[in-house]
């Protein structure tokens, strides 16, 4: 690879690395596995760099690789990687719940979502990418992005105990309401 291409790749990789690592971690919930995926993405991106270096958003390609690897692995029957605990306290003690939620990192917050939904949430709401951009990166239809976003946010609303006070009785969490129902 020519020197200028090498330089441009190194600059891009350095700039993208922090966000790319967090994207991978958000999907898989394991920093070591996340870095494996980031390494793979950088390697594939390097091989294609002469062709993709002029793309408007080369980092999108790296995210495509990471998302594909993560989603692909979870579909395999032998894939039984340890899952992050989904154990937000079930008690309706609002203060305790708030403390627990306030200590979560992104992987813990997103646990319970499918890998593709996690990818959609991170790209759409944490990286502020448009629906079309997310669709392009994940290779899915824009309508699927919208639906996955809606479903994921609904799930997260319950999981993170973000209550709509106009509907919920004071001190009663959403899961508690569901159990009561």
């Amino acid at each position: 690879m020519r020197a200028e291409l090498e330089d441009s790749f190194t600059r891009l990789a350095s700039a993208e690395l922090p966000r790319l690592r967090r994207f991978a971690y958000g999907i898989c919930g394991d920093w070591h596995r996340a870095d494996d995926m980031v390494q793979l993405a950088l390697k594939r991106m390097y091989l294609r760099w002469p062709r993709i270096h002029t793309a408007a958003d080369p980092g999108a390609y790296a995210r495509t690789v990471v998302a594909r690897v993560a989603i692909s692995e979870t579909r395999r029957p032998w894939w039984r990687r340890e899952r992050i605990s989904d154990a937000v306290p079930e008690v309706a003690a609002a203060d305790d719940v708030a403390v627990a939620v306030d200590r979560m990192d992104i992987a813990q917050a997103l646990s319970g979502l499918a890998p593709k939904q996690r990818a959609v949430v991170v790209l759409r709401f944490l990286e502020d990418r448009s629906v079309d951009e997310v669709a392009e990166i994940l290779g899915i239809a824009p309508g699927t992005v919208k639906r996955q976003s809606h479903d994921a946010i609904a799930h997260l609303r319950r999981r993170l105990h973000v209550t709509d006070h106009a509907q919920a009785a004071p001190g009663v969490s959403e899961p508690q309401k569901e159990r009561d129902a």
């Binding site: 920093w31 870095d35 690897v69 579909r75 992104i106 997103l110 949430v121 944490l126």
Partner: protein, 347 residues
């Protein structure tokens, strides 16, 4: 929604990796990979390189109709329906196969052509084209990180398919360490494949299975049949299934609302190889039943998973051959509830 996103952003801010990413090493590995790729490509003949570039750049099948040699060859998509499927993420080859050939001297596989044709408990099976246009069978054992690939020109593949074998040199010949597979072209007489211990795993994939008796796989089948081993008639008076030889059914699990039997499939429904079946009967507010069968050798290799969903209830079971041990990762999801049965809680 803003509240949710606000909390997500806060969680994202709290996410920091516990270690530093060694970008320099990462870049060095990428450069090494690129150099190895160039070396492999350089070793291929000039004419093949030209074809390879066309394949890699345009992701087209390497069979230009104007090429008289190619005219003798059927198109890959005519021989295997898998090549007509859109490539999905799970179809991508393991990293060990991307960008270089796993077998020294072999042609590189075309990434865009790979399709996952089957997944076993220990081995994943893909088909792909190599840059010379051959049809390949790729085996990969993720637990061991080992793989194998074999390729055949389309004309030869059309006649006999392609076989590949994956064996661990230090293995003991157990289920976990060996696999021999046969990628079969569309339209092949699958009735003929049962000879020589081949068993059809998927429509285009057969695996070599041990020559083993059903009673060696499930010793319960050798025990005398008890009254409770006989499957009852359904509430509407019909039989639960006619696929199982009556005298072979054995109750392997009974819970309040679920019963599971194992048995042998009636001979007229098999292709010359004995098949083990599992039957589940679920009775909640209403009743439902299902059965699933597989060649004895396949059950010995991987057991037999089955499931039933009806009336808002579901049951997922895994018939386990004698002496079958779940891996620690599998025990996280499956619970052994009887000597030959594990069940999975609904998600």
């Amino acid at each position: 929604m803003d509240d949710v996103i606000e909390r997500l952003r806060a969680a994202d801010d709290r996410s920091s990796p516990p270690h530093v990413f060694d970008l320099d090493t990462g870049l060095r590995l990428a450069r090494v990979r690129a150099r190895r790729r160039r070396v492999i490509q350089g070793a291929v003949g000039v004419s093949t390189v030209a074809a390879a570039v066309a394949v890699a750049a345009g992701m087209v099948w390497p069979d230009d109709p104007s090429d008289s040699a190619a005219a003798d060859n059927p198109k890959p998509e005519q021989l295997l329906e898998a090549f007509t499927w859109e490539q999905k993420p799970q179809d991508e080859l393991p990293d060990a196969y991307v960008g270089e050939a796993s077998t020294p001297g072999a042609d590189e596989l075309v990434e865009s052509s790979s399709r996952l044709v089957a997944q076993g408990r220990h081995v994943d099976y893909w088909t792909a084209l190599d840059e010379a246009g051959n049809i390949c069978l790729v085996l990969y054992m993720p637990e061991h990180g080992t793989g194998a690939q074999e390729c055949r020109p389309p004309a030869a593949f059309a006649v006999e398919g392609v076989t590949a074998e994956l064996a661990d040199a230090e293995g003991d010949g157990s289920r976990e360490q060996n696999s021999e597979a046969w990628l079969i072209p569309d339209g092949y007489d699958v009735d003929a494949i049962s000879a020589d211990r081949w068993a059809l795993m998927m429509p285009n994939l057969a695996v070599r299975v041990p020559d083993i008796e059903p009673t060696e796989v499930l010793s319960v089948l050798a025990e005398p049949q008890r009254p409770e081993d006989r499957m009852p008639t359904l509430p509407d008076g019909r039989e639960i299934t006619r696929s199982i030889v009556d005298s072979t059914s054995r109750l392997v699990y009974r819970a309040e609302d679920v019963q599971v039997w194992a048995g042998l499939r009636t001979q007229e429904e098999t292709r010359g190889q004995p098949e083990i079946c599992v039957v589940v009967y679920m009775s909640h507010d209403s009743w439902a039943t299902a059965n699933s069968c597989a060649t004895t050798g396949l059950v010995w290799d991987s057991g037999l998973e089955f499931g039933l969903e009806a009336g808002g209830h579901e049951f997922h079971g895994w018939l386990l051959p004698d002496g079958f041990e779940l891996r620690p990762d599998e025990t996280q999801e499956w619970t052994v509830v009887a000597p030959n049965l594990a069940v999975r809680e609904p998600e």
